[in-house]
Each structure stands twice: as structure tokens, then as C-alpha cells.
């Protein structure tokens, strides 16, 4: 074998090696991209189609009838008082998530004392979070039943009322009911997140605070709260996102598949529910698309403002 063939062999080997690396690179790209391809097909392309429908009239879901309409859909949405009412309802439905945040913070603080049985309590408090919205609706519908529900029975006996509140006919009571139901479910997530955050607080900080003579409450306010502020911030964001998108509970409690009504004075008309009613019950897909985009914008602005405010109170340096 002379030198030149040896060299050629070497080059060939080099090439082979290169292709192996390239092959691996291709394999990596191809497998890594699968979830994105799914998103592209089932979410991104539909999103583009929906954006296109925002500018047209269309009968039902038939693309063949698409016709440019000079932004009439936007005018429809912006003049629709029912839509803006639904935005208000959605903001009201972020309240249970905020309450859930406070409740889970207090509960986790108590659980963090690690008294006997804290694990059992924690396991129990998480249960509402895994219950489906349908079962939750069934349960609370029965509790709030105006005539023979347990709640009104208790209220009538305790306060010697003539009759209990009309939970399903008064808008105010309906809203209170929805908030109660959602507050029952909400804290489970926060408890898990806060419990993790509490265990990550640097113990040296507590020792230092103790030497300074800080009591339990003082330690909580001055050490724990700043240390877990990123988790509070995250849960606040998650709560806003979840609240503004609320669909299941209002739909099951009040959604009328035939008329598109949503509780007394539309008290349960969250934006997601209104989008559903517009797009499915009334088949006004272009208008529903505009509403979806406005909801997107609202969520985005709410998160953006929250994000901008975070450096006033969130500390990442502990």
C-alpha cells in the first residue's frame, strides 16, 4: 500500500466521521422538532386561518363563502356591550385565583412548621385540585341548590331567615357562588408550589433573624416573603392567565347550549364562554376569531403590566 491510498483512506474515514456527526445532527433536529410540528399543524396553521377570517364575512364554517367586509367584524366586537361585559366577568373570575394564592400562602406557612401530620394535611388539601370541573359543578350545584340544598338549609337555620339567598337568580349571588366554587379548587396548586419554595429558603437567614430577636411573624415578613417572592409572582401570573381564560365552571353552571344565555344578567359570561357561544352556538366564526385575538391582547397586556411591576417587589437575589 503506498502513501497516496493511505491518505485517501484517511480522507474517506474523515468523511465517514463527518457524516456520522451530520446524521446525528439530523436525527437530533428531527426528533426535537416533533412537538413543534404538532403545534405548527394543530395550532399555528389554524391560528393563521383564524386571523384571515377576522377580515371576512363567512356563512357557517364554509371557507368558500369568505368575503372581505371592511373590518366590520372588529366594529361588531368593539360595539358589543355583551363582549365587554364578558371581559369584566373574566377579570372578576381572576379573584378566586388571587384568593387561592393568599390561602395557599397561609396554609403552606402553617404546613412549613412541620408539625405532626403536616404531610397528611398537604395531601388532603391537594385533592380539590385534581377534581374535574364537571364533578365540582355537580357537587356545588347541589350544595347551592336554592330549595333543598344544604347551604340554604344551614343559612336559614343559623340566621332564622324566611328563605335562603336566590343563588341562581340574583346576578350578585351567582357571581359569589362561582367565586366560592373556584376558591375551593384553586389553592391546591399554590400549596405545592409554595411548599417547594419554603424548603428552598436559606436556613442561615432564619438563624440570623433569630439572633436579631425576630419573632415568627417578623421572620415570615422579613425573610420568608422576600425569599419566595418569585413564586408569588409566578402564581400571580398563572392565576391571571387561568382566571382570564375561565371556561368550564361558568359553562357547566350556566351555559345554555341553545339560547347562548349565561346565568342571570350574564353573570357567568366569561370571555371564553362568550367566544364559545359566538363561534359554536351561533356559528359566527369570524367574530369569534376577533374576540379570541382581543382576549389574547388583554391577557398579554395584563401580564406585561404585571411583569413591569415585578421589580418593585420581587427579589431574585436570595
Amino acid at each position: 500500500m503506498d502513501g497516496s491510498t493511505e491518505r485517501a483512506e484517511g480522507v474517506r474515514k474523515e468523511r465517514k466521521k463527518l457524516t456520522a456527526v451530520e446524521k446525528r445532527s439530523i436525527y437530533g433536529f428531527a426528533t426535537a422538532a416533533i412537538p413543534l410540528i404538532g403545534f405548527l399543524i394543530f395550532n399555528f396553521i389554524p391560528l393563521c386561518i383564524a386571523i384571515a377570517t377576522m377580515f371576512v364575512d363567512m356563512s357557517g364554517y364554509d371557507f368558500g363563502t369568505m368575503q372581505w367586509n371592511n373590518f366590520a367584524n372588529f366594529a361588531t366586537v368593539f360595539k358589543d356591550t355583551r363582549f365587554w361585559h364578558s371581559v369584566g366577568v373574566s377579570f372578576i373570575l381572576t379573584v378566586p385565583h388571587m384568593l387561592g394564592l393568599v390561602i395557599s400562602l397561609l396554609l403552606s406557612a402553617m404546613l412549613a412548621q412541620k408539625y405532626r401530620g403536616h404531610k397528611l394535611f398537604k395531601a388532603l388539601f391537594f385533592v380539590p385540585y385534581i377534581c374535574s370541573s364537571v364533578t365540582i359543578a355537580v357537587i356545588w350545584n347541589w350544595i347551592f341548590d336554592q330549595n333543598i340544598g344544604i347551604l340554604n338549609d344551614l343559612l336559614v337555620r343559623l340566621f332564622r331567615l324566611e328563605e335562603g339567598p336566590q343563588w341562581f337568580t340574583s346576578p350578585l349571588h351567582f357571581t359569589m357562588m362561582l367565586i366560592t366554587v373556584m376558591v375551593w379548587q384553586a389553592p391546591g396548586y399554590g400549596i405545592v408550589m409554595f411548599s417547594a419554595a419554603f424548603t428552598n429558603v436559606n436556613p442561615a437567614l432564619y438563624e440570623a433573624a433569630e439572633l436579631d430577636g425576630a419573632g415568627t411573624v417578623r421572620k415570615f415578613v422579613s425573610v420568608t416573603l422576600p425569599a419566595i417572592s418569585p413564586t408569588i409572582f409566578y402564581l400571580l401570573m398563572a392565576g391571571i392567565i387561568a382566571g382570564l381564560q375561565t371556561f368550564d365552571i361558568p359553562q357547566i353552571f350556566a351555559g345554555d347550549t341553545w339560547t347562548g344565555a349565561a346565568g342571570p344578567n350574564d353573570a357567568a359570561l366569561s370571555t371564553s364562554l362568550y367566544i364559545y357561544i359566538t363561534g359554536i352556538t351561533f356559528s359566527h366564526m369570524p367574530v369569534a376569531s376577533v374576540m379570541s385575538m382581543v382576549l389574547f391582547l388583554i391577557i398579554f397586556v395584563a401580564l406585561f403590566l404585571n411583569f413591569k411591576l415585578q421589580n418593585k417587589w420581587v427579589s431574585y437575589d436570595v
Partner: protein, 311 residues
């Protein structure tokens, strides 16, 4: 730190002792207060379950004769459960068999959710492995796109997806509930990637020198090593699928034969005015998940905690 300066002014001697005994009493009071509050919250959490359990065991006669809530069912009866599980009047004309809507719903949930969850989990892991352990061109861009998809609120995508599925004739089928999940989930990929990055590279290099390709490395080495992470994510996905209401409502409302459990419970409600039956249906629908929770509690909370933060 201000620790050193303040140490000088820290209490000493008797003062410290007095504080300690006071502290003991304060600690006891604190402990009692905490237990009372946790106890009250426990009551609040289990109260709704007790209520439906109680009502589900009440006879229809007692419910309709009492004009108030029935606190003491007399006699205790399993009649409502019998109707829910075995004697559903709609079963015959809806399905043409004796199996009740709720049991049909449960079976539908199982075949619609379990295989696609497992496949989605496998694919998410496959993708996560590439992100964590393979160097390839464009991985950063791809990963940024992946994270970006997680930022899009689901409610915004509902109607666009419906329109799309309608165009390809997938409405009134189970396909929209199954097929997208087969591509894996961005959140799960994101988390598993984080987990895989913690596994040593030497392990993979050694296996590759032994002649395994990346796919085999993933299946034979990474997956067994990451079983807890997979279980946590799988449980999380399964609960999501089991509890999913909006998806089936959109695509299977007109097709009760294919309705999964949640939709079946919801449709079933309309047919029965008897509160005992509604409560029994809710208990039956809750039970499988609660049993699963009892056994896999650790994974339930892990799955939630991991998919959350970590950005």
C-alpha cells in the same frame, strides 16, 4: 449583612432565659392555633365530598317527601349507585347494550386518553433527549420556539382549532382529542429536557461507543433511569385528559356514544332529576382518580411542581 452589628445588641443571660420560657408557651399556643386552622380548612375541603356521599345514599322517597336537605338518610340505600352503574335507562337506546352511560364514558376515557398519553410521553421524551444531549444546528432557535408555544394561552386557540378541524372533517370524531397529543407536549418536553440534562454525558458516550444509536440510548438507558420523572409527567397528563371537559364538549357533544366520562356525567345529568343519582354519578366519576391519587400521591404533586416554575 447586618448580622455582626446586631449580634452586639442581642439579648444575654437572664433576659434570654426569660424569653425562652415565654417562648415555650408562645410556641404551644402557636401550635394549637395552627392545628385549629388546619382542622377548619380540612373541614372545608372534605365538606363537599361528605355532602354528595350523604345525598347519594339517600332514597328518592325520602328526598321527595322532605322539603329540606336530608341530613340523616333513612334507610341508607345504594339504589342511586345501582342506577348509575347498571340500570341507566338511556343505555339501551344510546348504545344498544346494558352497560350504563357512565361506564361507557369511563371506557371511552380509557381508550381515548391512555394510549395517547403514553405515546405523547414517549415522543416528548424523545424530543427532550435531543434538546438535552445532542448538539445540532438550530437547537437554540428550536428551543426558543418551543418555549414560545407554551406562552400562547389555550383559550385563544380553541376556536381557530375548531375551524381547522371542521375543515378537515375531524369534528364529531375523537381525532382532535387524540392526534395532537401524539406529537408530545411542549411543557412535558421542557421539563424532561431539564431532567435529562442532570444525567451524566459519560453514560451516553459509553453506550454510543458500545454501538447504541441515540434512539436506543433513549429507550434503553435514559427512559429506565428517568422513570420517576416520566411517571410524574404521565400522571399529570393523564389527569388532564381524564378531567378534560372542553375538548369533548366541542367535538363529541353530538356523538354521545363516544363521550368520555366527564361529558357522559354532564349529559347524564340532564336526564335525571333525582339529586341522589347525580351525586352518585359524581362520586363514581371521582373515585378512580382519588384511588390513583392515594397510590401515586408523590407523583401527582411532583408533576405539578415540575411543570410549573423552573424558567
Amino acid at each position: 449583612m447586618t448580622y455582626k452589628e446586631n449580634a452586639a445588641t442581642a439579648p444575654v443571660g437572664e433576659e434570654l432565659l426569660r424569653r425562652k420560657t415565654n417562648g415555650k408557651r408562645a410556641k404551644l399556643i402557636a401550635k394549637i392555633t395552627v392545628y385549629v386552622l388546619l382542622g377548619l380548612y380540612t373541614l372545608w375541603v372534605i365538606f363537599p365530598f361528605l355532602v354528595i356521599l350523604l345525598t347519594s345514599l339517600t332514597s328518592q322517597e325520602q328526598l321527595s317527601s322532605t322539603m329540606n336537605f336530608v341530613w340523616l338518610p333513612k334507610p341508607l340505600t345504594m339504589e342511586a349507585y345501582r342506577v348509575v352503574l347498571f340500570d341507566d335507562i338511556y343505555a339501551a337506546w344510546l348504545y344498544g347494550d346494558a352497560l350504563s352511560s357512565i361506564l361507557h364514558g369511563f371506557l371511552n376515557t380509557m381508550w381515548q386518553v391512555v394510549p395517547s398519553t403514553l405515546a405523547g410521553l414517549f415522543i416528548s421524551g424523545l424530543s427532550a433527549y435531543a434538546f438535552a444531549k445532542i448538539r445540532f444546528k438550530g437547537s437554540d432557535v428550536l428551543f426558543m420556539c418551543l418555549v414560545a408555544t407554551m406562552m400562547v394561552p389555550g383559550a385563544v386557540l380553541t376556536m381557530p382549532s375548531y375551524l381547522f378541524y371542521d375543515a378537515i372533517h375531524w369534528t364529531n370524531t375523537v381525532l382532535p382529542l387524540i392526534i395532537p397529543g401524539l406529537f408530545g407536549a411542549a411543557g412535558v418536553t421542557f421539563f424532561l429536557r431539564q431532567f435529562f440534562r442532570g444525567l451524566p454525558d459519560e453514560l451516553i458516550e459509553a453506550a454510543r461507543i458500545d454501538g447504541l444509536n441515540d434512539f436506543s440510548v433513549y429507550v434503553r438507558i435514559i427512559m429506565p433511569l428517568s422513570a420517576p420523572a416520566f411517571i410524574a409527567q404521565g400522571v399529570f397528563m393523564f389527569v388532564g385528559g381524564y378531567n378534560n371537559y372542553q375538548g369533548p364538549l366541542l367535538y363529541l357533544s353530538n356523538y354521545p356514544q363516544l363521550a368520555p366520562l366527564q361529558l357522559a356525567v354532564q349529559l347524564f345529568m340532564g336526564g335525571y332529576g333525582n339529586p341522589a343519582i347525580r351525586c352518585a354519578a359524581a362520586v363514581v366519576a371521582l373515585l378512580p382518580l382519588l384511588v390513583l391519587y392515594c397510590f401515586l400521591q408523590k407523583y401527582f404533586t411532583q408533576g405539578v411542581a415540575m411543570t410549573g416554575l423552573k424558567a
